[in-house]
Each structure stands twice: as C-alpha cells, then as structure tokens.
C-alpha cells in the first residue's frame, strides 16, 4: 500500500470507480433490476430504487453535450486555453471532463482516454473519435 497511486482518493461508494481508473478502465453503475445506468454512483438505483446496482465497464464512447474553452490561468495545473466539456456517455449519463488531443464541438463523438496525476488515480478525459 505504499505505491504513489494508492494514496486514498474518493469516497467508499466510488472505490470501484477509482480502482478501475488505476487500470485505465471507465466503469459506471448499471441497475440489474431495471437496466438503468447512472453516474456518479449511489447505493441504489435512482430510477427504480433497487439495491442491485453493479459497476460495469462502459463503452468509453460519448457525445459532446456542451463545451467551453477556458482562457484564464486560474485553475491550478491548467494552461489556457483548454477545453472543459460535458459529455453524454453512450450508456446515457453525462460526466464532466476535458477534451484533449484535438478539438471538438457539441454533438461530436469522443472516446475516453486517461490523464495521469501525480499521487492520485488517473482521471478519464476524452479525445475526438475519428473512427466510426
């Protein structure tokens, strides 16, 4: 437990999310009772309130729902301009992210990649997906 990337990060509900992130795998919760996907995680399904929520590997494909290019150097560790985006995963839920390795606009298809962080698990970011 002394490795750098074992520094505690996240709350207990999201331990499976960050464990998967350490292996650069994006997981989101799926309800085995009603099929609904949700992100972030909860102890039960918000749609049908069943306990039978499990973390499943996501397709890692998303559509840009909204995007902004940040022009001011006020966030630690970020050099403007950089893109902050809200993406809609193929499974349905939306998540906050950055668009890296190119530009994207609303409606564009993007795919997950990972940004390493010093001392913390990698975070999912997205890049333009030119494949069909």
């Amino acid at each position: 437990m002394s490795e750098v990337n074992s520094i505690p990060f996240g709350d207990p509900t999201h331990a499976p999310f960050w464990d998967a992130a350490r292996n650069k795998t994006l997981v989101i919760q799926n309800c085995e009772a009603c099929g609904q996907y949700q992100f972030y995680g909860r102890p039960f399904c918000l749609q049908c309130h069943s306990d039978r929520v499990v973390w499943k590997k996501a397709l890692g494909i998303a559509t840009v729902y909204s995007i902004t290019s940040v022009r001011k150097p006020w966030a630690a560790g970020f050099e403007p301009p950089y893109s902050v985006a809200l993406v809609e995963l193929a499974e349905g839920p939306r998540m906050m992210t950055n668009i890296v390795n190119g530009n994207a606009k609303i409606g564009d298809r993007v795919r997950v990649t990972w940004r390493e962080r010093n001392g913390f698990p990698p975070v999912p970011v997205f890049e333009p997906d030119s494949s069909k």
Partner: protein
Amino acid sequence: MHKPIYIAGVAETALGKVENQSELSMAALAAREALAEAGMTLRDVDALFTNYMPEVGADLGSVRVGEYLGIHPKYSECSDLGGAAFEFFVHHALVALAEGRCECALIVYASRQRSRRNRPRAFNADSYSLTGQFEQPYGLLMPISQYALMAARHMHEYGTTAEQFARVAVSARKWAALNPKAWARAPLTVDQVLASDPMSDPLRQLDCCLVTDGGGAVVVTNAARARNAAKKPIRVLGVGESQGAFHVSQARDLTTTPGAVSAREAFAMSGITVRDVDVFEPYDNFTSTVISQLEDVGFCKKGEGGAFVAEGHTEPGGSLPTSTMGGGLSYCHPGALGLLLLVEAVRQLRNEAGARQVPDAEVAVAHGIGGPAFATSATVVLGRD
C-alpha cells in the same frame, strides 16, 4: 388567499469599494435604515435571515450577525442557497409571518469581496467529495465555466448569438447610466462587449457581472405592523422556490433553470400573470442567464430570449424594463445580488427610482438564481396595494 405580507423597509449598504467599514457595520447601518422605513427599530426584529458575509464567518452566520445587532430573534436562518438566498428568505419569512411565528423579519447582508479580494476562482474541494472527485480535476473556472457550458448549449439549441448576450450588457449599462449609485455608467456598445477579454467561451469579461462590495437590508412584516411604516409598504403577492442540481453533470437541462418552477409557483400564488409585470429584476450574474430567466419566467418562449433582448424590450423605454438599477452587470454585484433585486423592485413600486423610474410601475418581480444557474431559484412577485 394567503394573509397579506409586506416589505415595509429597504436599504442599500455603501456600495462599490467600501474601505472604511466592516461587513458587519455595513449590515448594521442598512438594517437600521430599512427598519426606520418600516417604522420600527432593531428592538422589533424577531426573525433574522442572513448569509454570505465572508468577514463574518460561514458557520452560524445569523447568530454572529444577531449578536452584533444586539438582538435575540426567535426565528433564525442562514441557509446557503446561492445568490438567490434572499428571495428564498422572503418565502420563508412569509410562511413564518403567516403562521404568526414572528412579526418583523429582517433580511440583511453585506460583502466586501472587492476590497478583500477574497472571491474564490477555482474549486478547493475535499478529494472525498463528489466535486473533488468529478469536477475539480477538470479545471473549471468557478462559476464562469459552469455558466459558459449553459450559454454554449443555449446557442447550440436555439441559435442564440454572442451579439444577443452582449445586448444584455448594453441594456443593463443604459439603466446604470440613469443610476448615480451604479459602479459602471460609461456608455457601452455591443462591439466593446465582443472585444472584451475571453474568460470561458462563449463568455467574455463584459458578459460577467461586476465584483464589488455592497449589500442591503429588507424588512418583511405583517399587515398590522406594516400600517405603521414610514414609507409605503409593498405587498408580497407571490413567492416560489425550486432547486435543480449542484453539479453540471447532474443538471437535467442546461438551458432551463429552476426559475421556470419558482416563477410558476410565485405567479400561481399571486393570482396575476407575467403580462401584469411592469418591472423585472433578474439575477444578471452573466448576460446569458438573463436570456434563460426571461424565458423561464415566461416573458417569451424558450429559445426566444436572445431575440427578445435584441428587440430592445429590456432597455429604458422598452416593454419590460429589466435590471433597472443597472443590475449585477453594471450597478453592483457583491457576491450575492439577490437582496439588491428586492431593494430595487420596492423602490420602483414606491416611485422612488429617480431618473430610472418606470412610469406607473404597479407590479415588479425579483427573480433570483443561485449557485450555478441550474442549482437554485426563487421568485418574489411584488405589487402596490
């Protein structure tokens, strides 16, 4: 019909850059002035509502302010609901007054965020929190980027343009030119807004509200006590509130704020409609949110807010005088603007607004949004008796 409840006194604190007072002394002076308008003193205050005074301390804020004022209210609230908190407070005060739990509710607030330069620009969230895990790692400018994501989506869905956003700033500046207390009064053009510094696309510097010191006080009371007011009491015709999401990813819709619900609730209570409104005081923290608020309250259809502003309706002489003191964009934005929306609405209805007075104003709406715009909203419909 609910028991009649009134705003019987209002006051602004010193505004702009306030270096010779503390937030507490500013709040105390505004409280005394608003209570004098209501024909009361601090000794009459039995309900206290406050929040967002960074010098005072975030915890137990109403206790700290009550202590400073030397009062011991039997109804106390310092809810954290964003800049709209003061419209929520009118709602909560109305319920408490109507139930007879109190008779004189003081809502008071002051901030010296400009002088103290203590406004946060980015998150500093616990890595255990949802914000720390799922928003902070992406470098949002808080709250500009959240609002930028809303503005970008509004442009995408409805064809709203940067020029239309800029018209909101130009409209507010035209009103500010008529208000000697406004911070920014020099003429402003659409081209100047479009040429201002990019912040988080599509929002530019002049799409963003001011960062100033300021605050104010509002006294809410029942009909019996309002009869003794020194100035004309203004009736609270309707109030409504609603909440959405804190995190952008959880917002159901980025182009509709909870104001659609809070306004519907407030107008249902009031028995009047948006067609009866003479003055609109939205929470103009960004130009883009005014467009969403015009739509959500129902002055135009969803998606038509940009065109509504571009047609000049919100400007002096327009069909819907909006942000008549110059708003957060040009008059004052002390971190939580909601209280000053109430002050201006009351002054318009009392015919006290000087060069910016809207002729024959009988109904005014103070409409607050808070947090990121999809987070909270509360609407107060006010009318002359």
